[in-house]
Symmetry: C2
Subunit: 370 residues, 2 copies
């Protein structure tokens, strides 16, 4: 696995059970996954020779992030390395304009969009589709970075000041955000987890409710078919997370990710097969595991670092207060706003389970009681 | 954790989630846990200076086996190291005669027993309690080794030929074997998992059924109280597994283990808190986790190595045949009879869940279909 963040770290938990020897490519030995994986190699994922050295002896290469240049992936593949997802699929998670073009071509519902090379054409897009408009960095954005919601021409001009390629999207007055996590293996087996609701704050996922409360079963099945179809059409191998807007007019695809995803952390306790085990099975072309939920309701809340780096007393409180809540720490130094872990609660009643998960997360990060 | 077998390996999965940095003391770098734990130290657990070096910088020391000499544990404790379980408790898991004396003193029901220094006194014991009689090595037995069921004086004499201290126990015509896993923390919080049935073959645990099918709730509660009381009276910190015989006349204590135990592997998927997480919480004096089951029925079957070391095709079959069964491999070379992993199935119906777990285990180890 190229990249040694928390996704690789949690993948290691599944690799241990499956008897799979996981190697990671880390930038530094103190990264989240490097702390828990014996076969950690140091190197630069932007350097082809580092990638080639890393790949020697591996059955398959996969990723904890989407930043490996596609030309390097093509070079590895040409050299006989199994890489999942491959370059032709991964480019859709790297380049939002390529993704929109392809989704439009296969008939997947998307917000209105256009490549906008300059302020003038962005303003023309807004004139057609209305204000506010959304500008996005074509490459490199995540967790709300690289996204501008512009209400005026001046704000559009400000976004262009960054000097990076942008695309425009119509602002979608959505009811809520949903996510569908699917897996697809090289021999084209596919599986979909239940549709979840994701709650975002400032562009960062803070809470995931599984399954999405009150979602019409027909609309849920439609969302799952849509995500499986995207995985098939784009040739994704491994996991694909499809973030969607639920609107009065139906579902619209927002973003794609091709790796374990924050919207799937709930599966560690909440599904028979965690997304991390599923990703390993998919990229190794093993039969996929059951996505069946282990309880009627699962809620995951992210832990975003607060001002106080010492969480120990709060950790003790949370364990004592609720012996059933599951705490996950990523082995990272606490910094304000940084994702340092998550908590998961399972149960029968959404309000009760959500309150438990929130209590744990809010207390761990702020010391407050909710 | 002193020792780097599969128990330490599975403890690492929980340590990763909890953000606990687990260090192990291994004999060799290719042991089961050493393969998945970055902070692996090599050394001899029988050597006090190795243990002292190992303990430097650790918040607490615990064990993957019960073979560390108690005098070394006392020396570590005298030097200010937190060791759980402590020497005064652990001796009861090391020395079966000390265990029987103490259990008898606290009124815990045991088979009739006696120290038997020679053949003559062993035969006198059999004359009083009947044939067959059970001889056990006072120290060092496990998985059926160090146990002799003797039907004649000649067989008694043969057992004594080993030249090790033995004790005698009355042969118990039990209905089945049960096990109760409890945790106790230094501040005396205790928790009990549901009582399970263990199925043994040739002295090796092969199958665990959780909860023990058809067990009378009053007898189950009695078994849990008995195990919690033993943990309290013996001052156990960490996990305690109490193996019991269910007989027409009630429960009798068979063996004690003070560490994660084969009879608790089902808790990884089958309980809100796995035994490995629970052991970490207990030895670090953190609040204990909920032992509540995640499903009505859980069955664990051990994988004992067969003749064919290449399990890969069988591994693929098992995953394809049953996407919900969970496979655990310990990263060990396959050798006939060696515990190389286990499988777990969860569900609602005992017969169905047991059949699924058995299918997976039998196929993985023999290639046969059952």
């Amino acid at each position: 696995m190229v990249g040694a963040g928390q996704l690789a770290r949690m993948t290691q938990q599944s690799a241990i059970a499956l008897g799979i020897e996981l190697r990671v490519l880390a930038n530094t030995p103190d990264e989240s996954a490097a702390r828990v994986i014996v076969d950690t190699r140091l190197g630069d994922y932007r350097d082809l020779s580092d990638l080639r050295d890393f790949a020697k002896g591996c059955d398959a290469i996969t990723f904890d992030h989407e930043h490996v240049p596609t030309e390097h992936i093509r070079a590895l593949t040409a050299g006989g390395v199994q890489v999942h997802p491959g370059a032709d699929a991964l480019v859709h998670a790297q380049d939002k304009a390529v993704m929109r073009e392809r989704l439009t071509a296969i008939g997947a519902p998307c917000p209105a969009w256009a490549r906008v090379p300059d302020v003038e054409r962005a303003v023309a897009f807004a004139a057609e589709h209305g204000w506010p408009m959304v500008l996005k960095a074509v490459r490199g954005g995540y967790d709300g970075r690289g996204v501008w919601i512009c209400r005026t021409e001046a704000e559009v001009a400000e976004a262009f000041d960054a000097g990076i390629p942008l695309m425009a999207e119509a602002f979608v007055p959505f009811e809520r955000e949903l996510a569908v996590l699917v897996a697809r293996s090289p021999h084209d087996q596919g599986v979909s987890y239940p549709v979840v609701e994701t709650v975002q704050q400032d562009g960062i996922c803070v809470e995931v409710l599984a399954p999405a409360p009150g979602l019409d079963p027909e609309e849920a099945a439609q969302a799952q078919r849509l995500a499986l179809n995207i995985a098939h059409e784009l040739g994704v191998t491994g996991l694909l997370a499809v973030e969607m807007f639920q609107t009065a007019g139906g579902l619209l695809v927002n973003e794609l990710a091709m790796r374990p995803h924050n919207s799937g952390h709930w599966t560690i306790e909440g599904a028979l097969t965690s997304q991390f085990e599923q990703h390993l099975r998919a990229v190794l072309d093993l039969p996929l595991g059951s996505p069946t939920m282990t309880a009627p309701v699962v809620v995951m809340v992210n832990l975003l670092g607060g001002d106080d780096p010492d969480v120990f007393k709060r950790y003790e409180h949370v364990m004592a207060h609720d012996p059933g809540v599951k705490v996950h720490f990523y082995g990272k130094q606490v910094r304000p706003g940084r994702k340092i872990g998550h908590v998961t609660a399972v149960g029968d009643d959404l309000d009760e389970v959500r309150a438990r998960a929130r209590h744990a997360a809010v207390h761990l990060t702020t010391g407050e009681y909710v």
